[in-house]
């Protein structure tokens, strides 16, 4: 089955950011395909370079970077959100490897191509 993920929270904001990564890894282990992981709103901070986790804590950005190096789907940071959070100021210097900037059209296309689209960080009722 082909999946796409929408991540709306930053690594520092919520455990849901961890769940998004773990779910993505589990999908590949179960031989599903990931079309795209689209990061929007504060989720774009996942692709921000220069952030360091404490030595005894999970470095989510580092794990996403390694994940991108595998045969995973694209990791796309929403361009509008990236601009709002300052990731475009010095593009290339502020982005982690494996992440690219894309418009919301990428999310639209990914949703159309995917059997399932899951949101991590959507507000619970």
């Amino acid at each position: 089955m082909r999946y796409s993920l929408l991540v709306l929270v930053s690594p520092e904001q919520s455990a849901l950011a961890v769940h998004a990564l773990r779910f993505s890894q589990a999908l590949l282990m179960a031989e599903h395909r990931i079309d795209c992981v689209f990061f929007q709103d504060a989720g774009v901070l996942t692709g921000l370079s220069g952030c360091e986790a404490a030595q005894d804590e999970l470095d989510l950005r580092d794990e996403w970077t390694h994940f991108a190096a595998t045969d995973s789907g694209k990791l796309i940071l929403c361009s509008a959100s990236a601009a709002r959070y300052g990731l475009l100021a010095e593009e290339g210097e502020r982005l982690l490897s494996g992440f690219t900037i894309g418009g919301l059209g990428e999310l639209v296309a990914a949703e159309a191509r995917s059997d399932r689209t899951l949101v991590f960080g959507g507000r619970a009722r």
Binding site: L8, A42, L104, L107, E111, G122
Partner: protein, 129 residues
């Protein structure tokens, strides 16, 4: 209030159900959801847009200008230009926040809890903001 017949067109749309649950100026989550809904509409996949929880506050006239923010309500008022002809509003949330039809855009339609369940079931995918 809607009945099932009123909601039938939702089954025909190819766009996702976009749910706005965040207050209008609490971060940029509501704005992000509306941006996504507009993008789907621009690409011809007309979404169903549902406001629930504190998200219903996006629908009343706001003080965005004085906060230095764009008015979410003005953005919502522009949705029919993008072929989003109806927005759906969770009726219990509307009552909770003591809002009524006079606070809403003319193209807003309230939905009861049962109808919301139908919307969830019939949606091809759900994007929750």
């Amino acid at each position: 209030m809607s009945n099932e017949a009123d909601l039938a067109p939702l089954n025909d749309t190819s766009g996702p159900l976009v749910i706005i649950q965040g207050a209008p100026y609490q971060g940029y989550r509501a704005q992000a959801g509306l941006d996504a809904a507009l993008s789907f509409a621009v690409f011809g996949k007309i979404p169903s847009l549902l406001f629930t929880g504190t998200g219903v506050l996006c629908l009343r006239e706001q003080i965005g200008g004085s906060l230095g923010r764009k008015s979410i309500r003005k953005l919502i008022d522009s949705l029919p230009m993008y072929d989003i002809e109806t927005v759906y509003v969770d009726e219990p949330s509307l009552h909770y926040w003591k809002l009524n039809a006079t606070h809403l855009p003319s193209f807003a339609e309230t939905v009861a809890a049962d109808d919301m369940q139908s919307m969830h079931k019939s949606a091809t995918s759900i994007l929750s903001y």
